[in-house]
């Protein structure tokens, strides 16, 4: 089944968000400075990147709705 460009971007954003949330779960169980570093460095970056990818996906599909529908 073919997926539209928006759906593909949602899948990519979702995968990045999933990675970020999984890292967050692991970092929450650590109480040391390393766990804080993993949270602040990796988890925040992945979740923010996932949200931005999702927003970019919906904005760009709104700008090019025809191209998106043709796919």
């Amino acid at each position: 089944m073919a997926t539209s460009l928006l759906e593909r971007r949602i899948q990519i954003a979702g995968t990045v968000l999933l990675l970020g949330l999984i890292v967050e779960v692991f970092s929450l169980f650590g109480k040391g400075a390393l766990a804080f570093l993993v949270f602040a460095g990796l988890c925040v970056t992945l979740i923010v990147a996932g949200i931005l990818l999702y927003l970019h996906g919906i904005v760009s599909s709104a700008q090019h709705p025809r191209q998106d529908a043709e796919r």
Binding site: M1, I10, A13, E24, K31, A33, C43
Partner: protein, 209 residues
């Protein structure tokens, strides 16, 4: 969210919902699906991140967190010195500071945005520890001279401080302490704080049962 289990369950729910959209992206074709995907991909992750950030910020105030860096171990050990003349040890052992927040209570900054300044200082510590050249424990210095404001945050107004024999012996002394002109930890007063040089010669308190 104090309990990490609740937060983990919330993140788990968020993960499950994201999985639904990743595996079946066609749901987003409907209006309801678009609203749901916005909630799941934007609102929920921000809530998870905010709750996690709040929890991590709370954890970063803990004594255990500060002592998790290897070079801080001697400072942690100095809290157990069995000598009331050692300022940090007597505060820690007599619960003049909360034992779980011992480092943060004395080393935060009680001025406006002081908490934030302390956090940035902590980030700098972590950066130096993992990515820079950490100094030897005995060579660690405060970024700024210790300000009496941090002591007075608790001691100002306390009878033991305001009516203390030494503090009131010279009328000018109290004003000098309160204006930070005479340091509480200057020589002759409470100068022994974390005495790492004599750590190996000290007796240690084993802690309450």
């Amino acid at each position: 969210m104090e309990n990490p289990i609740i937060l983990v369950a919330f993140i788990g729910l968020c993960i499950a919902l994201i999985c639904v959209f990743v595996l079946r992206p066609g749901i987003t074709a409907t209006r309801g699906g678009k609203v749901m995907v916005f909630l799941v991909f934007f609102v929920l992750p921000i809530l998870c991140l905010g709750a996690g950030f709040s929890r991590k910020m709370d954890q970063s105030k803990s004594t255990k967190f500060c002592l998790s860096c290897h070079i801080m171990e001697p400072y942690g050990k100095s809290l157990q010195i069995d000598d009331p003349m050692h300022l940090a040890a007597s505060h820690f052992q007599n619960h003049r500071v909360p034992p779980d927040l011992a480092c943060y209570t004395c080393h935060t900054n009680y001025a406006m945005f002081g908490g934030m300044k302390a956090k940035f200082g902590g980030l700098r510590h972590i950066y130096v520890y993992y990515l820079g050249k950490p100094p030897q424990p005995a060579e660690i210095k405060l970024y700024e001279p210790y300000n009496n404001r941090e002591c007075l945050h608790c001691h100002a107004g306390a009878r033991s401080f305001e009516e203390g024999a030494v503090h009131t012996s010279d009328p000018a002394l109290m004003a000098a302490i309160k204006s930070n002109q005479t340091s509480c930890i200057s020589s002759g007063c409470h100068q022994t704080v974390h005495d790492l040089a004599t750590l190996n010669e000290q007796k240690f308190w084993k802690g309450a049962d």
